[in-house]
């Protein structure tokens, strides 16, 4: 049974279909990378998968439990099964790193304070931030913030970790460090990872499976090799990062834009 399943999910914003019947299935311990250009609906899909947004149609199953129709209080129970790494880390700026990582542990467990302190140290060491317990988020670099946020996301040893653009805004070396951590969590601890990104190098490095979104639909789905060898022109254009291709042409886009300006549409 897949640990995460998305069935026919639809979402409309202001009469614009952002997601148009998305289907996805992620097995336990797998790293699934969801790719797509800006505005293709991947962030919306992520928000729906973590229960932050309700879809207009379709179903989402986490560990066999349908979450779309759950009440907020019931959803809290499901939320303990997953962690989330936000694009900017989203650490609470008023708390130290140790307090940030300890937050889910103090709120959702009855563990002794000393045990929590040990666990916090372990989680921070796991992401290479041993000794940084007393630092405030504002004192850290972007990469360190993300690593600390990852330590917080895995504080409760969740089955699934969602990542929103984990490499965004980082230099290639730091991005590779984050990728290594994602792979370690998957390989060593058996955590399932769902990564939303548009960075090709990182995506091919970490993915067991990939899904490419285009205009709210999954247009390609499979292993890294299958995606690389896809005959879909948009997928190839997306991988190559080229301006000219059958699906979206920079020249066509520019001409269309000028035409719309001239015609006033």
């Amino acid at each position: 049974m897949p640990i995460l399943e998305v069935k026919g999910v639809q979402k409309v914003f202001d009469n614009r279909k952002v997601l148009d019947g998305v289907n996805l299935s992620v097995e336990k311990g797998e790293t699934m990378v969801i790719m797509g250009g800006s505005g293709c609906g991947k962030s919306t899909l992520l928000k729906i998968m973590i229960g932050q947004l309700k879809p207009d149609g379709g179903e989402v199953f986490i560990d066999g439990e349908e979450i779309v129709h759950l009440k907020d209080s019931e959803m809290d129970r499901v939320r303990l099964k997953f962690g989330m790494l936000y694009q900017g880390g989203a650490l609470l700026n008023s708390l130290t790193l140790a307090q940030n990582v300890a937050l889910p542990l103090t709120e959702h467990t009855r563990l002794d304070r000393k045990i929590i302190d040990i666990m916090v140290k372990m989680k921070l060491a796991q992401v290479g931030l041993a000794g940084f317990e007393k630092k405030m988020p504002s004192e850290l670099s972007g990469g360190m913030k993300k690593r600390a946020a990852l330590a917080r996301a895995i504080a409760l040893d969740p089955s699934i970790v969602f990542y929103d653009e984990p490499g965004a805004g980082l230099d290639p070396i730091v991005a590779a460090v984050i990728d290594r951590l994602i792979m370690d969590l998957s390989k060593k601890l058996g955590m399932t990872s769902v990564v939303v990104t548009h960075e090709m190098k990182s995506a091919f490095r970490i993915a067991d499976k990939m899904a490419v979104l285009f205009k709210g639909r999954v247009i390609a789905y499979g292993t890294s090799d299958e995606i690389k060898n896809s005959d879909n022109p948009y997928v190839q254009q997306f991988i190559d990062g080229s301006l000219e291709a059958a699906s979206v042409s920079a020249k066509d886009s520019t001409e269309e834009y000028i035409k719309s300006l001239v015609e006033g549409n």
Partner: protein
Amino acid sequence: MREFAGKIGRSAIGFVKHVGSAWKIFREALYWIFIAPFKGQPCKIKYVVDQMNLIGIGSVPIVALVNFFFGITLAMLTSYQLKQVGSQELMAGLVGVSFTRELGPFLAAIVVASRVGAAITAEIGTMAVSEEIDALETMALKPIRFLVAPRLLALLIMLPCLTVVANVVGMIGGYIIGRFNLHIDSSFYIKLTFDYLVFKDIWTGLVKSVAFAVMIALIGCYQGLTVRGGAAGVGISTTQSVVQSIIFIIMIDCMFNAWFYFI
């Protein structure tokens, strides 16, 4: 005309929606303050104490300063008028009643709305745009419990305290004029003040301060939680928070005064 009516209608619907959402937040905050502690989920005491320090202790100097000068101004204005009828000593009671019933709670609320309401919106708004509130929700932690309830409780405790400070300091301002300009004896001035003050004057002022506290906390937190559009959005919401708080304080003050006037 039709377009204008449509605009009014849409604004009215928008206002009702905002009130509905704010009411929902208020209800949930009340739950975390008064009901959840009995279910083994107490409001975070550390956060409440931090907010009390920030909101209350931090506001004492400015509340005192504003009310002191207002006390002097009121004393000068009233003694100038009362001089016409030869009853300048009545100024002591007039200052006392004005501050306890109206100026103390009102000025303290205006100062807190400008200082603290804006800070609440800016802080929560910044958290909203940097996804910290989303992160709390994803960790199954209730943002209302962590962010709104401590601020509301701190304001409910500290604004009445600040009102007492405002009342006392305002009366001291009046005393300065009475003692050094009108040459009224200190003990006589104090006697005159308490002769005209009744208990109702004090409790009506404190009741108003509780209502103002709810309004400042609710508007500040609601504006912060609903920030959209990054740093610019935080700026807009912070301004709206202060403006709306001041408008609602004046409206509520008027309603309470009407109520207390007729009972």
